[in-house]
């Protein structure tokens, strides 16, 4: 099992960032994918509840099951399913308040096969940078923090 984690601090209220991150249908607003389709409450899609399809620029499509969408915790969890390569997967995005006007966004993935976790981590890193751009561009240009300060961790369970 490969486990990776990326994080970034954003100078915006956690609730505001969560409005975007906590909406499964808006993943393509900040994550480097080209398409995102989720089940709608009004039944306007054929997808069953708690299911999402995402499309990558290469044309690959992934079917995902939404595991957790907790607006109180500000936690989103999903799992890639029905994929011939992915044996198990859990992706977690947390938005954690750090005061009234700053938050930490953390994206972690546990994935088997482990190599694929590295691929997801790279995309997650870019997604977090895009989030930073989206919210920090709304602020004055003299903001002190920088998207280059993205944090990263990876390990394989059982290696320690």
């Amino acid at each position: 099992m490969g486990t990776v984690r990326r994080h970034i601090f954003i100078d915006a209220p956690a609730d505001k960032v969560w409005e975007l991150v906590g909406d499964p249908s808006r993943l393509d607003d900040w994550f480097p994918i080209t398409g995102c389709e989720v089940a709608r409450d009004d039944g306007s899609t054929d997808l069953p509840p708690n299911q999402r399809w995402i499309t990558l620029a290469s044309g690959l499509r992934f079917e995902e099951r939404i595991v957790t969408l907790d607006h109180d915790l500000r936690r989103f969890q999903y799992s890639i399913i029905n994929n011939p390569i992915v044996k198990s997967h859990l992706g977690t995005v947390d938005v954690i308040a750090d005061g009234d006007n700053r938050c930490l966004v953390m994206y972690s993935t546990d994935l088997e096969p482990e190599v694929m976790a590295l691929v997801i981590a790279g995309a997650a890193g870019e997604g977090l940078r895009r989030l930073w751009d989206l919210f920090n561009n709304e602020r004055s240009a003299d903001t002190a923090s920088t998207a280059e300060n993205i944090g990263t961790t990876s390990s394989r369970m059982g290696d320690h």
């Binding site: 482990e114 590295l118 394989r156």
Partner: protein, 516 residues
């Protein structure tokens, strides 16, 4: 009209692969002629022994510590300096045809230009109005017919039946495959029924010629022709297997047939050597995670070597075809040709294959030949001083009549022994950093005065006290590690002090964005 530059690289080719460097099997008359008519550097080292960091040094003229591509999977920033940009700004037409690999391959999100170009069927991308890495034309290939490369697209559209003929490099878990093939079941050996004219070596030559044919006769140009071979998988067209019968080959000098003797050599080296041999520690993605080197048989080594020699012959014939075309275009007198590779291959030495954190000649000593344009009037020479790829960008700029770019960190290659000192070529440095799911290996190496010293920095298996010290004159196979010999302690200290004085301060490690 200035001098044109043909830069030819291979991937994972040993110094001794070529006839001009003592190779006795593969026939490489075209490259040998370049060496005879030009300058053959007999102690050239890459600044990393894996692809992305090494290639990033070639294009930036910087050490790994500075360009920051510290391992495969870390992209070279889009705004990193590029000698192709420098040449483009000087009026050159610029192309890179074949394997680029400044950016990760394995990225289905297509976040990187190299992959995007092939996916969109385009050949250049602009960033803030500037060509990506300074190339007018980037046309990519890799080690097979899958992935987001122009060659894979070409196969898909013209010969789709050939896509599955190649060895499948990744297994179902996306690990570098350990599956064996050929006649000995050697890892990554494979019978490839693809017709030779569809094979990527010939395709790279075809595409380079096609690009050259777009240029006017008086154009100045820089063409980087980058062959994916002889990097594994070892799957040249089966029609060419008759060239070398593996049964006829001698085993490498650095392969001791007796297992106890072979393992004693490994035990004299830092512990990551023996741990990999025994299958206990695979530090880097480039080596198959599920292959145990101690299972490697002498016949498997022979077959891998035979297939490599065949691939090298095909490269040489491709080089001959390119040179013939340049002559026919009337550019022969004014074209400089530089030939090298990104790093070597263990190819059976010490009972090992592939590559990794092993700073010995198998991986570090690479072919490097510069045949200056005849019009430059530079005499042929053999240079034994240590030089590195870090000098390539300065050399290309020099050929173009430009000053050494400020972003580069080494002077141009010397063309005579007398220039060795004046240009400061006393030492060459190589770095290794890898972090793979918590496994950390970090090496720093200096080669100077006929010695190689490698410090193993603290990591997962090293505590910072281990290292390697080899006397190249008396131990050309680097079998006897003198690191802990009291009689060599002062020399070791002197070499390491020089190494730390000479290495630039490392930029902060950027995240790994993909496995490779």
């Amino acid at each position: 009209m200035g001098r044109k530059i043909l830069f030819i690289t291979t991937d994972q080719q040993r110094f001794d692969a070529l006839g001009c460097n003592g190779g006795l099997v593969a026939r490489t008359p075209n490259i040998d002629r370049l060496a005879a008519d030009g300058i053959n550097y007999r102690r050239a080292h890459p600044q990393s022994v894996v692809c992305m960091p090494s290639r990033s040094t070639m294009v930036t003229g910087q050490h790994v510590a500075t360009h920051g591509v510290w391992m495969n999977g870390v992209p070279l920033p889009t705004d990193a300096p590029s000698v192709a940009t420098t040449l483009k700004d000087a009026g050159y037409s610029t192309a890179l045809i074949g394997k680029a690999h400044f950016e990760p391959f394995l990225d289905p999100f297509l976040r990187f230009t190299e992959n995007r170009l092939a996916a969109t069927g385009t050949f250049q991308e602009l960033h803030d109005g500037r060509l990506h890495r300074g190339f007018d034309h980037m046309e990519s290939a890799s080690h097979g017919a899958t992935g987001s490369f122009h060659y894979a697209q070409w196969i898909l559209h013209n010969h789709p039946e050939a896509a599955a003929m190649y060895y499948r490099v990744l297994d179902m878990e996306l690990q570098v495959s350990a599956a064996g093939g050929g006649e000995t079941f050697a890892p990554q050996a494979h019978d490839n029924p693809i017709p030779r004219e569809w094979y990527h070596t010939d395709w790279v030559v075809d595409r380079a010629i096609a690009w050259l044919d777009t240029l006017s006769p008086d154009a100045d140009w820089f063409c980087w022709v980058s062959f994916p071979d002889p990097h594994h998988p070892w799957d040249p067209p089966s029609s060419e297997r008759h060239r070398v019968d593996w049964r006829d080959l001698d085993l490498p000098d650095a392969y001791r047939v007796d297992a106890a003797s072979r393992e004693a050599v490994l035990d004299g080296k830092p512990r990551h050597w023996r741990m990999w041999y025994d299958g206990q520690f695979v530090s880097n993605y480039e080596a198959p995670a599920r292959w145990v080197p101690s299972t490697l048989t002498p016949d498997q080594i022979r077959e891998v070597n035979a297939l490599t020699h065949i691939e090298n012959e095909l490269i040489d014939e491709g080089v001959g075809r390119l040179l013939g075309h340049i002559e026919r275009r009337g550019w022969g007198e004014d074209t400089d040709i530089v030939y090298s590779t990104d790093h070597g291959e263990l190819q059976g030495d010490y009972g090992l294959l592939f590559k990794g954190p092993y700073h010995v000649d198998s991986l570090m000593r690479v072919p490097l030949i510069w045949k200056p344009a005849p019009s430059a009037g530079i005499a042929p020479a053999v240079i034994d001083a240590p030089v590195g790829h870090v000098s390539l960008a300065s050399t290309f700029s020099h050929i173009a009549g430009l000053a050494q770019p400020e972003y580069t960190q080494a002077s141009r290659l010397p063309v005579s022994e007398s220039e060795v000192r004046t240009l400061g070529h006393e030492r060459v440095l190589t770095e290794w950093d890898s972090v793979l799911f918590g496994k950390i290996v970090r090496l720093r190496t200096i080669c100077r005065d006929g010695w190689i010293a490698t410090a193993c920095l603290p990591g997962t298996v090293h505590d910072g006290t281990e290292g390697e010290l080899y006397d190249l004159a008396n131990d050309p196979l680097q079998e006897f590690n003198l690191w802990n010999e009291p009689t060599h302690a002062a020399l070791r200290s002197d070499l390491l002090a020089d190494m730390w004085d000479s290495l630039p301060v490392s930029v902060a490690h950027r995240p790994v964005d993909a496995p490779v």
